[in-house]
Symmetry: none
Subunit: 194 residues, 4 copies
DNA sequence: AATGAATGAGGATTCATTCAT
DNA sequence: GATGAATGAATCCTCATTCAT
């Protein structure tokens, strides 16, 4: 039953269905048919709108990355001191939205996808660069010239913690995850003061 | 031409072929046929030996994990102080063998596999637990009761660094990677002393 | 923006687009979408006007055949002797319009279509019959009772030459093609005289 | 039920099934599934042996062309005079085998295929060149320096007659078809004598 | 009159797995 | 032990056609 102006609605539905399916499957081994069914459309329509399965994945990736970016930006608004800026970014990284199993699985699989798709790699790099530079900016007043290095380490630590959460090794405890990263900040900061 | 005692040789060839193919493909989207061809056997033989593709992957995983375990053990032999023990583990984690693109890609994909396969998850957990406990043991004299927490953070940081290397964001510099983790040790240690 | 009296304009645009697409593709493997795009309309409109893809092809066929018919008729106007009549038909057959790659390809594919569609077969037969009878009429004073046979052979030769031109075997030389057929006339004529 | 040494048997079965299906369909719009079913194998096996549908078509083409080549060669063996050589080729061209509807349809469709596939074009050209040169060789003593031209015209006439037979315009009468071509020989010959 | 939206039906191709030899 | 042969089941993608607007 075709209606006019459905394009954005359908696109969004498909993208979200893709993310959910990737999360459910725990991998990119998701068929267009599964995505289509969850989105309530035909596989043909998915191709009509996105051209190929890969484009659907990339759109899903962009969506997840953009949501994450929004959360970080949102968190930064309220931060009025350097330290609070850094904390805001870390907390946003472990925000409720990102702790959902499906999003987590999607992230992991985007890293895999990046091994093959230049576009996927590009997207991931852009966001990483942004996070690191946000962190470094906040860290500057706190740890001085080490800010870039510390930012890199913090970003890596965040990713590493995600990996382990995905493994279900530790309880997915947001507070604890946040503390693990902030502990690094604390130490670096105290060292700088001396 | 079947020969006596070929089984272990064939098995090893298949396992190594699998790892290389996973590395080459950058994902688990590898066909039994590709693995078989690289190993110089027929696909039928692969099934004869391993039963299924999944078993081949699990065997490959066990192999990578066991090689890593060996490297860590080897590095520990020469370490005669707590600090050197920790350093040994970190260095082993970034040893030449693990820096090869194919092994790196294999690791990443094992994390993905762990999202679906209980056996894969089990294997990964065992090794992580072992590393963490090795680290914690070495850290004990250095940071006291914090040893478990610090070990967890260091392990996560190692994983996170790998993730970024896989992304090709930073140059795959072993020294730098090692330093990033040891810096954490250094800070924790200095804090404990005060 | 629908306007009054657009129907014939649209129809013609679609038919010509179809011929061009068939020529471009070199086969009937042409999608309605391609035709519609070239004609600057929607696929839905194509169906609205023609009912089905097959009808579009048949319309394209009728168009090509009718253009060819016009050219023959036009050439015959100026022909005031039997021999000139025959020559006129032959020359028209190799006229510039018919030598365009797309028209040539269309012709060939109409022969294929005729294998399946009764309507296509009918159309092709009608035109062939007309050409042969035109030729035979002109040949009558020249070769007498053999006129029908000679006409058939000349028509077949014309088709055969087209086939080879389509293959790109020989240079698509109009003069040479014409001569090849007229040589047949010449011989038959000379034989009759003796 | 896999048996050893089936490859040539299967390949042949598939090629013949393809020719028959093309004949039945009257076009190249034949599915691999149809071919496979007629050959009594799975579609997967067809791909296993031929790699792609296009390769199946090309193999079918090679087969038809090679059969035709054999018939011509066979006919030439018995021909001990120039004129008989030419006649042999013409008769072989209209031999029973080539008059079968499916083979005829296959030929026509090969011409279409040649418009798109370089390999198809190459194959068709080779055989045409061979026929023309065979004709020219036989014609040499009969029509002298005109032999090449006459050979070209005869070959074109043969193709043209086939086209019309395919159209079902005339009764597929082998004798009549042969006579149409030989008439050309006769005329050219008589002209040369004068 | 015209189109964006939508789909059912199918088609080429791939692949893990099995089986006869 | 080892493999060539074989396939069922799936998967991505295409396309003619329809329908609401």
């Amino acid at each position: 039953m075709p209606r006019l102006g459905m394009q954005p609605i359908r696109r969004k539905a498909v993208v979200e269905a893709a993310i959910q399916e990737i999360g459910r499957a725990g991998s990119l081994d998701v068929t267009v048919s599964q995505i289509a069914k969850r989105a309530g459309v035909s596989t043909a329509l998915v191709h009509f709108y996105f051209g190929s399965k890969e484009q659907v994945f990339l759109a899903a990736m962009r969506h997840v990355l953009s949501v994450y970016g929004s959360e970080v930006r949102g968190a930064l608004i309220m931060a009025d001191t350097p330290k609070k800026r850094v904390e805001a970014i870390v907390r946003a990284s472990f925000s409720t939205g990102n702790f959902k199993k499906e999003v987590l699985s999607a992230w992991l699989n985007f890293y895999v996808a990046a091994q093959n798709s230049e576009e996927a790699k590009r997207l991931l790099r852009i966001y990483q660069k942004r996070i690191v530079s946000n962190l470094a900016f906040g860290l500057r007043p706190l740890v001085g010239e080490q800010s870039q290095n510390v930012a890199n380490r913090m970003a890596a630590l965040i990713d590493g913690i995600y990996l382990r959460i995905g493994l279900g090794q530790e309880e997915p405890n947001r507070e604890q995850a946040t503390d693990m990263v902030l502990r690094m900040l604390e130490l670096e900061e105290s060292r700088t003061l001396h």
